[in-house]
């Protein structure tokens, strides 16, 4: 069997005295769509930030394609082609859509000038790449003038544009209408065909079950379920998410 794209081992995270992740280990296979599920405060977003390299884990090891990553940080994950749609969208409202999309990765000529025309053109293109949202008039528009869904579409477009190997989506459809949601979920399946893996955090278990090859359920910072789609069911996921380890055990007793 070939090496997993990303394997995390024994990850724990403390915020002050609070342990928010406890000894979490799992793998993300190449071209695999993994659902990361769990109740509010279960630790999903913290895990997402650790995998994206923007937050340090207190302990834990990371392996990329079998190779140990010595120091996880955003520089490393960016080089590896990891892109994340953060739960808070990670946009700067006072800046234009273009400047947000290229923030930290501005395209410049050799004199250090930003190529604004080129970036505007690319921004206009990528805005339509996955989910087409009505009402975005120009990439020069300020993000503060966008609706919640429009802003989320910008965050999606940015991550989709730059991702090369792994796309992490933290509740990416929370502000999207039905059509856009369907388009995004469909896109994850399409990515699989291109060999790009993805991690989807969502509270909609039906969406997760529809597109994910594997499901990981978090509860109070611990991983309590890690199952391939064919080995689980929406009912089992629901029991695990809603009632934690106890509910999962009860569900399994009841179904055997």
């Amino acid at each position: 069997m070939s090496e997993a794209l990303l394997r995390i081992e024994g990850v724990s995270k403390k915020y002050g005295p609070n342990t928010v992740l406890k000894d979490v280990s799992f793998e993300i296979g190449k071209g695999e769509v993994v659902g990361l599920l769990g109740d509010n405060g279960a630790g999903k977003s913290t895990l997402v930030k650790i995998m994206s390299g923007v937050v340090d884990s207190t302990v834990g090891d990371f392996f990329w394609d079998g190779q140990k990553i010595e120091k996880m940080n955003r520089n490393v994950t960016e080089k590896l082609g990891v892109e994340t749609i953060f739960q808070d969208s990670a946009l700067v409202p006072q800046m234009t859509i273009t400047r947000n999309i290229f923030m930290g990765r501005e395209v410049t000529n050799r004199f250090g000038f930003m190529k604004m025309k080129e970036m505007d053109a690319v921004a206009a293109e990528v805005l339509d790449s996955v989910v087409t949202i009505e009402g975005i008039k120009s990439p020069k528009q300020l993000v503060s003038s966008l609706s919640g869904g429009q802003a989320q579409a910008v965050a999606i477009a940015r991550a989709v544009h730059f991702k090369r190997s792994l796309l992490i989506l933290d509740e990416p459809t929370s502000a999207l209408a039905v059509r856009a949601t369907e388009a995004l979920l469909g896109y994850l399946t399409q990515l699989k065909g291109e060999g790009v893996s993805s991690v989807l955090v969502t509270h909609n278990l039906h969406h997760a079950f529809q597109v994910c090859d594997r499901h990981i359920v978090m509860n109070h910072g611990k991983k309590i379920l890690d199952a391939r789609r064919e080995d689980t069911s929406v009912e089992e996921l629901t029991a695990a998410v809603v009632e934690g380890a106890v509910g999962l055990a009860r569900f399994r007793e009841g179904s055997f």
Partner: protein, 346 residues
Amino acid sequence: MTLTAPAVTHERIKPAGLIQTLLRRPEVGAAVAALAIFMFFSVSTQAFLTPAGVATWLYSASLFGIMAVAVALLMIGGEFDLSAGAMVGTTGLIVGIVTTEWGVNIWLALVIALAIALAIGAANAFVVMKTGLPSFIVTLATFFILQGVNLAVTKIITGTVSIQGMGAVPGFDAVTVFFGSSFSLFGMDVKISIVWWLAITALATWILLRTRSGNWIFAVGGQITSSRQVGVPVMKVKMGLFMTTAGAGWLVGMLQLFDVSTVQATTGIGQEFIYIICAVVGGCLLTGGYGSAIGAALGALIYGMTLQGIVFAQWDNNWLKAFLGGMLLLAVLVNLYVRRQAGVRS
């Protein structure tokens, strides 16, 4: 990263109208106000429009303008520096003391003062970033420390509160070419600081609007978590900004020292808020992420014109403070209105 521009221009890229584009600029309000004040004093006083008069208010504006532009960059980046004014005194005193008292080479003295200024700027940034404390508090502390040290150290070393005898230091005239000279233009005696001011405003504007660093300054000032999440080097940006205001303090310190060849231990104290006011009048938001270098330069121009205009009009000098307060209030109101018109929610 390679990037191929799409062949066809996308329908979403349409040039915005000229008025719309203009109204979106943060400095429109300041430009209009500067014009009004210019016309007012031109009409109401004899001296304002004479070559000597123009040279006077431009000189005033230039010293405030250099600092205001640096402070504007910092404010756009989401921070304040209340130690910027005291820094002007500190750097002037360092050069004055080490040359006149200890006979240090004047060029070396300039470098020492700059290095100390940059180190203080870096220390400001370091404390702010590592502790997460508001820069307003951290630099307020730095301000008091510098103010106290400026006076105490000057007294210990020289026995007085000012440095005299700079003119006799070897190399003084050579350095004066860069910081204290002037040249004649249209019958005006133009001080070199005006050239520095214009150059720094142009450079800052270019950096803000056209370079990657500029994008990072707006980003960290607008939403620091978002910037960090997408990989903007937040620490580097803030460090650079604090060091820029400190460096600007050094420059202004030198411009004053080599203009009058003396420096007081109280130089620069009380000016820190004027820099901030100039930046705000020029369209900077106190909340960060929005503003302009040209605006700050215009804010300083307004201040310089008023400062000298009031003298030319032979009004009581105390009107300046009242005017400054009124101007500040008017500026934030106008900027608020302009931003609403341009469809910026904030």
